[in-house]
C-alpha cells in the first residue's frame, strides 16, 4: 500500500516509522525546513520538503497513486483542505484527518472529511469513562447508523436492580449487550439477573437514552 502523510510532527513521524516497519511504502511531507532536516536524518528519502496544501507538492509526492492519505498537520484548516482535495480532486479512496481542536469536528463533517480523529476528544472520553459524572458514559456513537452504545451503573434502588433482563421493561430499540461485574463481564441472556452495582452496556437508537437511563438510576426523592 502507498501511504502519503502530510505533516511530520510527532504524529506524522511516528506513523511513518510504524507504517514503514509494517512494510508499506510511505512518503511524509513537511513544510518547516528545520523540522524537515531533523526528520530527514532518520527517514531519508521517505520525507519530502514542501507545503502539503499546495497541489504541485502533493502531485510531486505521488498523491494520484496513493491508497491512503493521512492529514496530520497542526492546522485544522490545512487538514480539511488536504483531505478534501485528496478525495475529490485526486480520487484517493481512503483519507484520515486529524482534528486538533474538537470544536472544529463539525467543520470536518460539514465538508465531508471523515474519519476525523481528535486526540483531545479521545482523551476526554477516556476521562469521562474513568470519572463518570452521572453514572452514564457514552462509549460509542454511530451517527450514520443512528445507534449509540452507553454504559450505566445499576443503582440499588432502581427499577432494574434484582430483575431478569427480559423483565427490565426497556423501550423498543434498546438491548443489553453486556453486564460487567467484579469478576468480569458477560453477555447476558433473558434470564440473567441484573444486580445493584453492575455496569451494563446498552445499545440503543438515538433519542431514547432518557427512557433507558431511568430504568437503571435510583428514584431520587425531590429536594424540599
Amino acid at each position: 500500500m502507498y501511504v502519503l502523510i502530510v505533516g511530520a510532527g510527532k504524529v506524522g513521524w511516528n506513523l511513518t516509522r510504524e507504517l514503514i516497519a509494517k512494510g508499506h511504502e510511505v512518503t511524509v511531507l513537511e513544510s518547516d525546513p528545520t523540522r524537515y532536516a531533523v526528520v530527514e536524518e532518520e527517514l531519508e528519502h521517505s520525507v519530502q520538503y514542501g507545503d502539503g496544501s499546495e497541489l504541485w507538492v502533493l502531485e510531486r509526492a505521488g498523491i494520484e497513486r496513493a491508497d491512503l492519505v493521512i492529514a496530520v498537520t497542526g492546522d485544522d484548516e490545512d487538514n480539511i483542505l488536504i483531505s478534501q482535495v485528496a478525495r475529490e480532486k485526486y480520487g484517493v479512496e481512503r483519507v484520515v484527518a486529524r482534528c486538533n481542536n474538537p470544536r472544529n469536528l463539525h467543520h470536518f463533517e460539514l465538508l465531508g472529511v471523515k474519519p476525523a480523529i481528535s486526540a483531545t476528544d479521545l482523551i476526554l472520553r477516556l476521562i469521562e469513562h474513568e470519572v463518570p459524572n452521572h453514572g452514564l458514559v457514552h462509549l460509542l456513537d454511530l451517527p450514520e447508523e443512528r445507534l449509540e452504545i452507553i454504559e450505566l451503573e445499576v443503582a440499588p434502588d432502581s427499577e432494574a436492580a434484582g430483575k431478569q433482563v427480559k423483565d427490565l421493561g426497556l423501550p423498543e430499540g434498546s438491548l443489553v449487550i453486556s453486564i460487567l461485574r467484579d469478576d468480569g463481564g458477560f453477555v447476558p441472556t433473558g434470564e440473567s439477573v441484573v444486580q445493584p452495582g453492575d455496569e451494563v452496556l446498552v445499545v440503543l437508537d438515538v433519542g431514547i437514552e432518557d427512557r433507558v437511563t431511568e430504568r437503571f438510576t435510583g428514584t431520587v426523592a425531590p429536594t424540599a
Binding site: E77, D78, I80
Partner: protein, 148 residues
C-alpha cells in the same frame, strides 16, 4: 444588503470601507483586536461610530461568525491571509449558513482554479497580476504606475 467580511487586512478593510460608503450594512471579523485601526485610518469618525460592526474572533469559530451576524449575511467575503482558512470558512458560509453570495480570496492560482470549478467564487490576485503583467510586457496594455 448585509456584508460580512472575514479578515481585516488591506483587502478586507478596503472592501469594508467602500461597502459601508455605498450604504450597506457591514460587519468585519478579525482575530486581531488591533485590526480595527485599519478601518479607522484616515477617517474623522471611528468605524463603529459610522455604523460599521467589528467582532474579534477567529474565522472557524462558529460563535464568532454568529456574533458577527453570519446568519443575516447576504454577502460573505473571505479575505484572511490564509488560503486554507479562506477556503474552509467560505464553504462553511455557503453550506451551513446558506449565504447567497460568497466570494473568497485565494493567492494560489491552482487551488483557486480547482475550487472555482467546484462552484466557489474565487478571486486570485496572483493570477490577475500575472495576466496584467504579461499583457504589459507584450505591450498590449500600458500602466501609468498603479492602476485604479
Amino acid at each position: 444588503m448585509f456584508v460580512l467580511i472575514v479578515g481585516c487586512g488591506r483587502v478586507g478593510s478596503a472592501i469594508a470601507h467602500s461597502m459601508l460608503a455605498e450604504g450597506n450594512e457591514v460587519s468585519v471579523l478579525d482575530e486581531d483586536p488591533e485590526a480595527i485601526a485599519l478601518l479607522d485610518r484616515g477617517q474623522s469618525e471611528g468605524w463603529e461610530e459610522r455604523g460599521g460592526r467589528f467582532t474579534v474572533g477567529t474565522a472557524l469559530e462558529i460563535d464568532a461568525l454568529l456574533a458577527a451576524g453570519i446568519d443575516q449575511a447576504d454577502a460573505f467575503v473571505a479575505s484572511t491571509d490564509g488560503d486554507n482558512t479562506n477556503l474552509v470558512v467560505a464553504q462553511i458560509a455557503k453550506r451551513r449558513f446558506d449565504v447567497d453570495r460568497v466570494v473568497v480570496r485565494v493567492l494560489d492560482p491552482h487551488r483557486a482554479r480547482w475550487y472555482a470549478q467546484q462552484g466557489l467564487q474565487t478571486v486570485c490576485p496572483t493570477q490577475t497580476a500575472i495576466e496584467l503583467l504579461e499583457a504589459a510586457v507584450r505591450g498590449q496594455i500600458r500602466f501609468e504606475g498603479v492602476s485604479g
